[in-house]
Structure formats: C-alpha cells, structure tokens
C-alpha cells in the first residue's frame, strides 16, 4: 500500500485528504495518469510531487509504504 496526500485545490477536487492504494512499483508519472483517469484531478502535470516529504521527479518509482504528496504551486508567505 502507498499513502497519497492531496492539498489545497486538489484536496477539494478529490473530496478527500488522502488515499491508500495498492500502487507500489509504478512511477509518479503512471500514478498521475491513473489519478487523472479515476478522480478527474486537473493540472496534475504541473503539480510537484514529494515522496516521503522530499521533492522528486515523475520518473521516480514508488515503493511499498511510501507517502506521496501532490504539491500544487505554493503560495505561502
């Protein structure tokens, strides 16, 4: 199982804060494509991704137990 976290607009679109899914072994890119299809989340292609709280790239493979967070463009400060 992997843990997926949504924030800001993505959280509102998904209607939930997190998902637990059997997606270990796929890449971030594949995960985004799957989420786009299943949940119709907009703009995932311009969303940064963090695995276990570190920014990562679309070709990263997720492993069992990872926490994947989709980070829309930030606006703190």
């Amino acid at each position: 199982m992997i843990n997926i976290l949504f924030f800001a607009r993505l959280r509102e679109e998904a209607g939930q804060e997190s998902l637990h899914v059997e997606k270990a072994g796929c890449t971030i890119k594949e995960l985004k494509e799957w989420l786009d299809k299943e949940y119709r989340l907009s703009g995932l292609n311009r969303t940064m991704t963090a695995v276990n709280e570190e920014f990562t790239t679309d070709d990263t493979k997720v492993t069992e137990g990872d926490t994947i967070a989709f980070i829309p463009p930030v606006s703190g400060g």
Binding site: L5, F7, A8, R9, G43, R46, M48, T49, A50, E53, F55, T56, T57, D58, A69, I71, P72, P73, V74, S75, G76, G77
Partner: protein, 154 residues
C-alpha cells in the same frame, strides 16, 4: 509558539516572539520581516484568507532554507514562524527573523528566505474575495515545475 526555530502554528504570531529566538550576544543586528494580509490586490478586495500547510514537510523545507542561509551567510541565525488557518486583513501570516553580527548579512538573508519560502515550502493561501474564492498560485500556467521542484538559487 514553541522554542523551535522553524514552526507552523494555527495561533496568532508576533514578530517579537520570533525575533527573540535569534537574539544572542554575538549579534548586533536582528532583521525581522512580517508578511501581513493585504486587503486590495490588483483592484480586487480580499475579505479574508485561509492558509493550509503540509505541516511536517513545510517544517523540513524551512529547516533546509535555514541551512542554505547558514551556508551563504555563515554568522547568521534564522527563525521562521508561519501561521495557518483563517486570517483577516492586517493579520500577520509569516515572520522571518535573522540575526547577524552586522546588519548587511541579516537584511540579505532575510530577503533570501522569503523568496525561497514562496518557491518551495508547501503552504497554500486561499483568497476569499467579495465575489468568489481562489487558491493562489494555482491559476493555469502561472507556475509550473518541470523537474521535481525548484532548484536552489545561484
């Protein structure tokens, strides 16, 4: 408010409290920046804001920016407090305090920190206008990252 140098809180924050964390005998300068809630942006009126954070990662990113600052301005000490939740006009959303033996490094490091926070700390602002709401920084095409996230500045 804790003694941690980098923190996210849902309570009101004060510039003095954050500055107190970096005051020390070796420092002759403390530069404090407060980011506050503005009423008008490009002719549009804000009623209130809501800030949300991926809190654990946000603290890690703030700590990372703190290490960048110490690499660039070795004698400085920085602290950042960012508030989340519902904020109203003139409320303080973020305080950055940097102390240094002399003022120049403190000014430079402080400005560097707010720029980096706006690039890579997972905190989001939702505007509540008179006629609608919007998550800021999320308009189509305003910001996109092709490779995993922002890179350190040169």
């Amino acid at each position: 408010m804790t003694m941690a140098l980098f923190e996210i809180t849902n309570q009101p924050i004060s510039a003095d409290d954050t500055a107190a964390k970096v005051k020390r005998p070796e420092a002759g300068a403390v530069v404090t920046f407060a980011g506050t809630v503005r009423e008008w942006t490009n002719g549009r009126r804000t009623r209130k804001l809501q800030y949300a954070a991926y809190e654990s990662m946000a603290v890690r990113q703030l700590e990372k920016i703190g290490r960048e600052v110490q690499d660039r301005w070795p004698d400085t000490q920085a602290a950042v407090t960012h508030r989340v939740g519902e904020l109203h006009i003139t409320d303080t959303a973020v305080v950055i305090a940097v102390s240094s033996p002399h003022r120049r490094a403190a000014y430079e490091a402080n400005e560097y920190m707010i720029e980096r926070i706006k690039e890579l700390v997972p905190i989001w602002k939702k505007e509540f206008y008179e006629d609608g709401t919007a998550w800021v920084g999320d308009q189509l095409g305003t910001t996109a990252y092709s490779k995993g996230g922002p890179k350190p500045h040169d």
